[in-house]
Symmetry: C2
């Protein structure tokens, strides 16, 4: 994958290990966005909806994302924020299981996933129960309407067995929603093969779509006709341009459209996704595992007793990140940034290092780990400058 690095523009002197929060800039984005602004918007104006393919962008980009997450065409729609898509997916799923009273989520799930589960449960009078994905079997029964988990734990980097969990969930007649935020673009997700019901994900992590890039929702083809989505924007209408007074959803995945897409951000995502062209997700996964193997080995050999590897060591249980438990993790993170190693901090004590396989080399990752070693060994994090809390951590 070393050639893929040329598809990205990265700052000199930086090893960027935060692509699981905001992926770096693909080289194709700048020219694409400039064209969208200057020619498409500036010159073609409203005619761009046809002339430059704006109208079909959400579905077109959805299909492109689908290829990275094991979804055949016509099941993924790009648009809106992950929170909104999760609200849509959870509501539709609850409506598909009337009479069931429980919604299961992971108590360690990303906050939005838990908040939206609570919000949707409240609307439908359901009860939310929190369970770790590894223990879901114990909580499944005929009362469970929907299970909503992330494929990869955003803090620990633990990868769950989405196939086995989905199968278990289906055995109890429940529906399975996967959040792919920390998985898509970094490892193999096989939504169609595992029989996932619905899924959501964001565009700005391993998909490298840019800050706040639009999210996406997956509706398995067998569910599309029954997907009763709550936010019925006119773009999802069967005949949007007839401007009917009453809503009738499109028969296809087009029903998952809501409002007018933020096209600058969406077309930047489309351009960013070209960085995956010609590269298999299997190859990406191999590189990811090689990099995280290296990091875990290094930590075991050189970072004890300062740091403890929190991420599972087994490859099949590991996403594309390694989280290290360290004292003064915030200050350590800042000291590393000062040395050009950009990771992030997750309260209370995690240094979270993410590995974008498309643009990171083994050499870079090793140099980053040497910096981690030095910061910890030299206690460089004790510099008072590194304890100043920024507004956004």
């Amino acid at each position: 994958l070393s050639a893929a690095r040329d598809r990205f523009i990265l700052p000199q002197g930086t090893v960027y290990l935060d692509g699981n929060s905001l992926g770096p800039l693909p080289a194709a984005v700048g020219p694409a966005v400039s064209d969208v602004v200057t020619r498409q918007w500036g010159q073609d104006l409203i005619t761009s909806w046809n002339l430059n393919g704006w109208w079909h962008a959400p579905g077109r980009i959805g299909d492109r994302i689908g290829r990275l997450i094991g979804a055949a065409a016509g099941q993924v729609m790009c648009g809106e924020s992950t929170s909104v898509q999760l609200f849509q997916a959870l509501t539709a799923a609850c409506r598909m299981r009337p009479g069931r009273s429980v919604l299961l989520t992971d108590g360690a799930n990303f906050p939005t996933d838990q908040y939206i589960a609570d919000a949707v449960a409240r609307l439908f009078g359901l009860t939310v129960r929190r369970v770790h994905p590894s223990e879901v079997g114990e909580r499944l029964n005929s009362e469970v309407a929907v299970v909503s988990f992330s494929v990869v734990d955003y803090r620990t980097g633990e990868l769950f067995d989405s196939a086995a969990i989905t199968e278990l969930v289906h055995e109890s007649g429940s529906l399975m929603i996967w959040d792919l935020a920390h998985a898509a673009g970094a490892l193999e997700v096989a939504l169609d093969d595992i029989g996932a019901d619905l899924a959501v994900g964001c565009g700005y992590k391993y998909l490298n779509g840019g800050p706040g890039a639009p999210a996406y929702v997956y509706l398995a083809s067998r569910h599309i006709a029954d997907a009763d989505l709550p936010i019925t924007g006119w773009h999802g209408h069967a005949e949007p341009f007839e401007l009917h007074q009453h809503y009738r959803p499109a028969d296809s995945i087009e029903r998952a459209r809501i409002g007018t897409a933020p096209l600058l951000s969406m077309l930047a995502l489309e351009a960013g996704l070209t960085a995956f062209d010609g590269i298999s997700v299997a190859a990406i996964r191999r590189k990811s595992l090689a990099l995280t193997d290296l990091v875990i080995d290094f930590a075991d050999n050189y970072l004890t007793p300062w740091a403890e590897v929190v991420t599972p060591r087994e490859e099949h249980r590991r996403g594309s990140q390694v989280s290290l438990r360290v004292q003064h993790a915030y200050e350590v993170c800042q000291a590393l940034i000062a040395r050009g190693v950009v990771g992030d901090f997750r309260a209370p004590d995690l240094l979270r290092l993410g590995f974008g396989p498309l643009y990171l080399s083994h050499t870079e990752v090793l140099s980053a780990m040497l910096a981690v070693h030095d910061v910890l060994a030299e206690q460089a994090w004790r510099d008072p400058a590194f304890s100043v809390r920024a507004a956004v951590t």
Copy 2:
């Protein structure tokens, strides 16, 4: 306002009368977006959340929009799509009026507004009744929870008396939600002064924020603490970075945040809004009325019997557009586009001409009307090329 034209980049040889659908490109946008992509995203990466003010962009831009719609700071939040914001606003409003069973909207309201009203009413077991804003008084009573109207009718360009309607609605103890899509940036909206409860609007019409620019929501300060919004994304949490397991909304307008904003689109909107700097909305309104006066006079004098002015003639009942009822309106619209006059068509028989006061001159508007005359007089629309329906009209 003639100097303001230099703040826009418009295609040569075009008179653009579709800024009520997609505003043209402000000159400030290209450099701003280039900086966001190349420097902020490309070089500063994740640090941009602090360094380049990304985290505070939604509220900062909300306040900037607030200045154009008569809202003091701290009441407007930018983000998401108009459909989503309307879903938020309608749900919050219904929750503020428990026990009331009716939601009123306008049967001629923009489709999304009607669809979302139906969707929210269904969630809460309410009944939607449709009434023209001019007749709302007849339908108001103690059963009405919420009234949701647009300030300007998107088809006819009729401007409603938002102050009088809001007052009537309040007399029945109901809440008033205004959709400002076809008003903000083109005429005076005084949300605080008229006592509006909630409002929404889009960023890509007269605000010139670019295709699919993020929308915004207004919550009157007296309602913020009680605004129980349904989509509880983590950005709206009182302490988002503590990553709590349960949602607690921010005390301020920050609670109206949902997911991560599409920053390329959002910061393009921010740059686009600088085209309003130093210009009063009153001056914009005067120019708008002068232009639409000219168009109506021209139509009355030179376009009969082919075209009928549908937009109200009284200034206080007129937005910044003039809609003409003509036979073969679709073909007429296409024939005009071929002559460089870009308006749009609304089924079944409306030619809709919108007037962006910041960038249109009297001379241009007059030349556009001469083209309308010629197309109708010469029956230029009979050319079969003009009857080919594009996918998006």
